[in-house]
Symmetry: C2
């Protein structure tokens, strides 16, 4: 829901501000590639006070593109398109949209030059089919592409904006942030605040969360709009005020009340990841972390190395696929593996301790288990989906057993999120000066 | 594009077969969750001869749902909806669509019983708001939900099909495969083959690929439809025949010609990942692989552990974030790190060799470099985006230097894909009985 421009934003050229995103490509409709453009652009706009009203994904067929664009152009104020600007025969967006808008395409020598320079820089020869990308709308502008050949195109017509973006995410994303957002802001089409305030939680279910927060929501009644979104062990709660009955400051106050009520189950505001929250706690306490994984196969290490400047707090990780590698890399005793099995609380603890010692870390997380069908079938009392976590901290080491339904990828993500949340709670306790673990040790011994 | 039913499929009830998917939810439009329903349903239909014609994502607002559904119902033959069937106040799909179709909702005692049993099985008490989910269309059917409370709903009206599916993927996916696909097949709305033949390539750009394959495409003219899809160092090419001028066998022959032309740049047919292709080659040759990573931070290990039965060929991996960890876990000599730096061909080679030796593997891949801004800033001649790969094989070890633009996540994926492709080519050579590397060694020494 877009509010009218506030006095601090430039006066708007537009009466209504209905944003639509058209994502083009059979590969999206065939499920061959995920619609990451919706995720990226939706989030970027949401953080600037705009709720995208619709996303339509259609085939590469010229008739379908023309029909959809005509309908969307009639109803929307800002239309963003992605894809179909490339050099190959199935790239038709530029031509079709120009026809619908009654514009000619004109050859742009500047685009051609930029492409030639790009090919030369990579020591490659430009094939003639690339020249297709050097055409722009006669009454339109070019958004230079620093990361690929096809530039973006910008058209203002009929009191509306059309912005055409290239399909590859590594080209689209910087172009959107560096060129499109400033242009939209200049036209007064963005707000200086998010469309909502988001609270992130971990380790609490959606209905339990709603029940805990209901007393707060009840006090604001219809002025407040609440939505929940669950992600594999994390639940986000968004509060907004579509009617604008509550100001930004009031929404932040509501979120603050909720956070207070939730205590440790509250993970953070906005869009921070669990790994980022752990990273910040580790950095603040000047501690280092190591990880050892079997079932999650690198995903736990990967979640930390995604954080900028990970080397400051992340000592490293080991991915083990055999008992040999656990013995070799983590000094897990062979007799322990033989007696308790590689999927056990004891193995998890030995892996965590081994990782902390080998890598010289203060904290270590270990994950072992059966993530999915395959070579490592669940056995005996440990069916597929069984996960043992271990957490090594300066003052002790603990293990816990978990069980998740679903396919391999789900079990892996749930296990990683559970490990991250455990570390987060432990670091919060350490920060508060507590010395005990966040809950009683569950390691059988 | 859907073809008319062939003699082997039941006669169709429908003249045209236009499929549309409506995905409901602000969380999709705000980029808070990815539209996995499109990926899943699009792929399921594509593998049964159906190209989904459109996917529309709209807000949870009742007016928006009604407006969009009215428009879609007028043009489509099969409409699938996801989300908005749950117990809470923002779940409005059932009520809005019933109104548009002029149907009453009727209470279904069978649904209520199934919900009661489900709550009892989990030892929970059913709250009254759940009863909302026990209503079905007066002239419609119920698709039982084995994994959640909200059942799916099935309506045949005006010679069209409406199928409403619950939002949670773990409920939607089995319902779609076990109930929706058989119903669609019974109505003659699916075909016994894929909508296209897909060739996957690696290590070749999109426009170069098209240029190489153009002679094949030219021979088939308008009978053949060709589309390309680039994924960070991989390009897929789909060939199809929307007019049905070419049979499945002919399309496969076209794809075979293309594969022949491409030689080693051809990676495989269909949907196999690079890691899966490497895994199959390793298993066939009874070889084991280890990995050592800095810049890709676990993503390389993760790509192999996603493959079912990874323990059969994957010995394990090490994620290093410091020189200490390289020395400790991989036996990289300190003097080498000091002399050449940790981001160097020499370090990459020492990491690969160390990983192979420590983990007892025949092959090892190592990745080091500067993936993004942060603690590990690119230095001197190695700016951010510089990657050194090393490949250890039974008959030698090689390194190569690469450079990628873009953000950290892009550099990581490109580096992983380059490493996988290098291994794939090396294993192909080994399979062919060649003993030399796939290209001249590039390690400066």
């Amino acid at each position: 829901m877009v509010s009218p421009g506030s006095p601090s934003t430039p006066p708007s050229l537009f009466a209504a501000k209905r944003y639509e995103l058209l994502t083009l490509g059979d590969e999206l409709l065939l499920g061959l590639t995920a619609n990451g453009h919706l995720t990226f652009i939706g989030a970027q706009l949401g953080r600037r006070g705009v709720l995208l009203q619709r996303n339509v994904t259609i085939t590469d067929e010229a008739d379908a593109i023309a029909r959809q664009f005509r309908e969307s152009w009639a109803g929307a104020d800002v239309i963003l398109t992605t894809g179909g600007l490339g050099p190959t025969c199935d790239d038709r967006t530029r031509e079709v949209l120009a026809e619908v808008l009654g514009q000619r395409l004109v050859f742009d020598r500047g685009i051609e030059q930029a492409m030639e320079e790009r090919f030369a820089a990579f020591g490659r020869k430009m094939t003639p089919n690339n020249l297709k990308q050097a055409y722009r709308f006669e009454r339109g502008e070019v958004l230079p592409n620093a990361h690929g050949t096809a530039p973006g195109l910008w058209v203002e017509q009929d009191g509306k904006v059309l912005c055409m973006l290239p399909g590859p995410p590594n080209e689209l994303q910087p172009m959107f942030v560096e060129q499109v957002l400033p242009r939209l802001a200049k036209l007064g089409l963005l707000l200086p605040r998010e469309a909502y305030v988001q609270l992130r939680t971990a380790g609490i279910g959606e209905s339990a969360l709603e029940t805990r927060l209901q007393p707060v929501f009840d006090r604001y009644g219809a002025a407040l709009s609440v939505a929940f979104c669950a992600h594999q062990g994390q639940v986000d709660c968004r509060v907004s005020s579509p009617s604008e009955a509550l100001s930004s400051a009031q929404l932040e106050a509501v979120a603050g009340e909720c956070a207070q009520l939730l205590g440790e189950d509250f993970m953070g505001y906005g869009h921070q990841s669990l790994a980022k929250v752990c990273a910040d706690l580790l950095r603040a306490q000047e501690k280092r972390l190591a990880v050892a994984e079997t079932a999650t196969g690198g995903l736990l290490a990967q979640s930390f190395t995604e954080v900028c400047g990970a080397c400051k707090f992340f000592a490293g990780g080991v991915v083990c696929c055999s008992n040999d590698s656990k013995m070799q890399l983590l000094d897990v005793p062979e007799c322990l593996l033989l007696q308790h099995g590689s999927v056990s609380a004891e193995s998890a603890v030995a892996m965590a301790t081994g990782a902390a010692e080998t890598l010289g870390a203060d904290y270590a997380l270990a994950v072992t288990g059966f993530a999915g069908a395959g070579a490592a079938q669940g056995t005996g009392g440990n069916p597929v989906g069984t996960i043992f976590l271990a957490l090594h901290a300066p003052h002790g080491v603990w293990s816990k057993k978990l069980s998740y339904p679903g396919p391999r990828s789900t079990v892996k993500i749930r296990a990683v999120n559970a490990a991250l949340d455990w570390l987060r709670r432990e670091l919060l306790h350490a920060q508060a000066g507590a010395t005990g673990p966040s809950r009683p040790p569950s390691l059988r011994s």
